[in-house]
């Protein structure tokens, strides 16, 4: 009986050795497909506690992330912005491939927390309120940039980064780049390219380039000829003094 038990352990080890190259190849394939890319390190261990870490290690990352998300929602209801940011960090570490978590975390920081910071009655100094607001904008940007690093194969976070840079940080050059990166994806909606053009038009010195870019979109057909695009082109034609024969509405 003991001999058989020992033999079974030896056979098990031999089987383990035989399938080792197969396991290594599978792990590499999973990594290439952006699967199982969560970094379960000591930093995360400190944030989620021993039981949480054990759950994450045992393949229960997603339910843990869902429970923490509910906790973040409670923090939102109590306007505990700092706590929310901490929970968002943990949730996005647990589920780095979930676009929703990155997107919502950035939105809460750049839109909700920043507005709350500007309306903070406990802070009499406007300069400090503006500073806090900028910090939340940047926190939102940071979430999106980290989200992009974890999801370089999907357009959605590039698009959201473009929106944040356009609406909150008013960095038109960076917003143009983000929208253009989003537009490179085959499944990206056509408005990504239009948004890039609109932002490019706001960059001093790049008006001519923006005009050519938007005109090219206009020439693609009816689907791109939205009132905003047509109006902007007309304004730019006037501003750039485009000859009548070259204008888009030239019959």
């Amino acid at each position: 009986m003991i001999v058989r038990r020992l033999l079974s352990v030896v056979l098990l080890a031999a089987f383990g050795a035989a399938i080792l190259p197969f396991q290594v190849r599978l792990a590499a394939q999973a990594k290439a497909a952006h699967l199982r890319s969560t970094a379960l390190d000591l930093d995360l261990r400190e944030r989620i506690g021993q039981m949480g870490f054990l759950a994450a290690l045992s393949g229960f990352r997603s339910p843990l992330a869902a429970f923490l998300w509910i906790e973040a929602h409670t923090a939102w209801e109590n306007t505990e912005w700092g706590r929310m940011a901490g929970i968002f960090n943990t949730v996005t570490t647990l589920q780095p491939r979930s676009l929703l978590y990155w997107d919502m975390a950035a939105w809460h920081m750049a839109w909700n927390a920043s507005v709350a910071a500007m309306q903070d009655e406990k802070q009499p100094s406007e300069a400090l309120r503006i500073r806090a607001q900028r910090q939340y904008f940047n926190l939102g940007r940071d979430f999106l940039e980290r989200g992009i690093k974890n999801n370089p194969d999907r357009y959605q976070l590039y698009l959201q980064l473009g929106v944040l840079l356009r609406d909150k940080l008013e960095d038109h050059s960076a917003a143009t780049d983000a929208f253009l990166r989003a537009a490179e994806f085959p499944d990206a909606p056509p408005y990504c390219r239009r948004f890039a053009g609109y932002e490019m038009a706001k960059i001093p010195g790049r008006e001519r380039e923006a005009y050519e870019f938007l005109k090219a979109l206009y020439l693609q057909g009816e689907k791109q000829r939205l009132p905003t695009l047509v109006n902007l082109l007309r304004q730019m034609e006037k501003k750039l003094d485009i000859p009548a024969s070259e204008r888009v509405d030239n019959p």
Binding site: R4, Q23, L57, A66, Q95, S98
Partner: protein, 288 residues
């Protein structure tokens, strides 16, 4: 042929026995969990609601199927020996191999049915929730151009079901089958069901660290000889359970490449077969 019939009869009996043990009561807990979750998260956006429903349902599916695989399998041999039913069976011309295979077939049938029922329940709740959100969206967008309405409805549908969930669920089944086979192997030399359960749970946790140990050992880092021996031991003896953890990423919308999915299923099948043959080998020499 007779041996196959015998095996099938044992498998059917094992399945019936497990069903009579009312193991399906856990489905009530599963149902409460996902329906309760749906009610609780109604204040969230629809994307968050769907994400959480998937997170909790598939996570619970993974926990329940793993627990069911370990707890149901661990008691087979000790219980049959205690009840002396094993002697009645093996006194007939039933090889020990067939007896064990029948037991494994029974538990695999139970796991398949349990996962099928949980999947059905999950998809039903997801569908009902989707219908609710679609009706709400239609009511809110009354009067908007048809194209805009279609885009909004499409967005709701895209956030609910995606076909990638199915390979994720199939891998949950393979993982639980692996655990059942492993527990069966452990129970062939265990003196009690409790021992087999404890060992299986310990291996469950170690198995999730196997990939880390393997990388550590293969990376060639300069470490103490005993650390290397330990890493080699873990990498060779324990199963790589992380290889079957696709569900977290599948929920996040990541597609599992077909090749990777098939190879993972094959790896799971290989583990099940190897653990079963080792179990049969040890059981063949066991004094009853």
């Amino acid at each position: 042929m007779k041996s196959l019939q015998g095996t099938w009869a044992i498998g059917r009996n094992t399945f019936t026995e497990l069903v009579r043990m009312k193991v399906f009561y856990f489905l009530l807990i599963f149902a409460l969990l996902i329906i309760g979750n749906s009610a609780f998260v109604s204040k969230f956006s629809f994307q968050e609601q769907f994400q959480m429903l998937k997170d909790i349902s598939l996570g619970a599916m993974s926990v329940f199927s793993s627990l069911l695989a370990i707890l149901a399998t661990a008691n087979f041999l000790p219980k049959d020996m205690e009840d002396r039913t094993i002697y009645t069976i093996l006194a007939k011309p039933v090889p020990r191999f067939s007896y064990l295979l029948g037991k494994l077939i029974g538990i695999l049938l139970l796991l398949a049915l349990a996962i099928l029922l949980m999947t059905g329940l999950f998809l039903l709740v997801l569908w009902l929730q989707e219908r609710g959100v679609l009706a709400e969206t239609r009511a809110q967008l009354q009067g908007v151009p048809a194209e805009e309405l279609q885009t909004a409805l499409k967005e709701v549908t895209a956030a609910t079901f995606n076909a990638n969930l199915l390979p994720g669920i199939m891998i949950i089944f393979v993982k639980s089958a692996l655990l059942a086979s492993l527990t069966l192997f452990l129970s062939t030399f265990a003196s009690s069901g409790l021992f087999a359960i404890l060992m299986s749970v310990a291996i469950y946790f170690i198995g999730h660290l196997q990939a880390t140990a393997r990388e550590y050992f293969l990376s060639g880092v300069d470490i103490h000889w005993w650390s290397r021996v330990l890493a080699v031991g873990v990498a060779l003896i324990f199963p790589d359970l992380q290889a079957f953890n696709f569900v977290d990423d599948v929920i996040a919308g990541v597609a599992v490449p077909t090749g990777l999915f098939l190879e993972t299923m094959a790896l799971g099948g290989l583990y099940v077969a190897v653990y079963f043959f080792l179990a049969a080998m040890v059981f063949a020499g066991r004094e009853l």
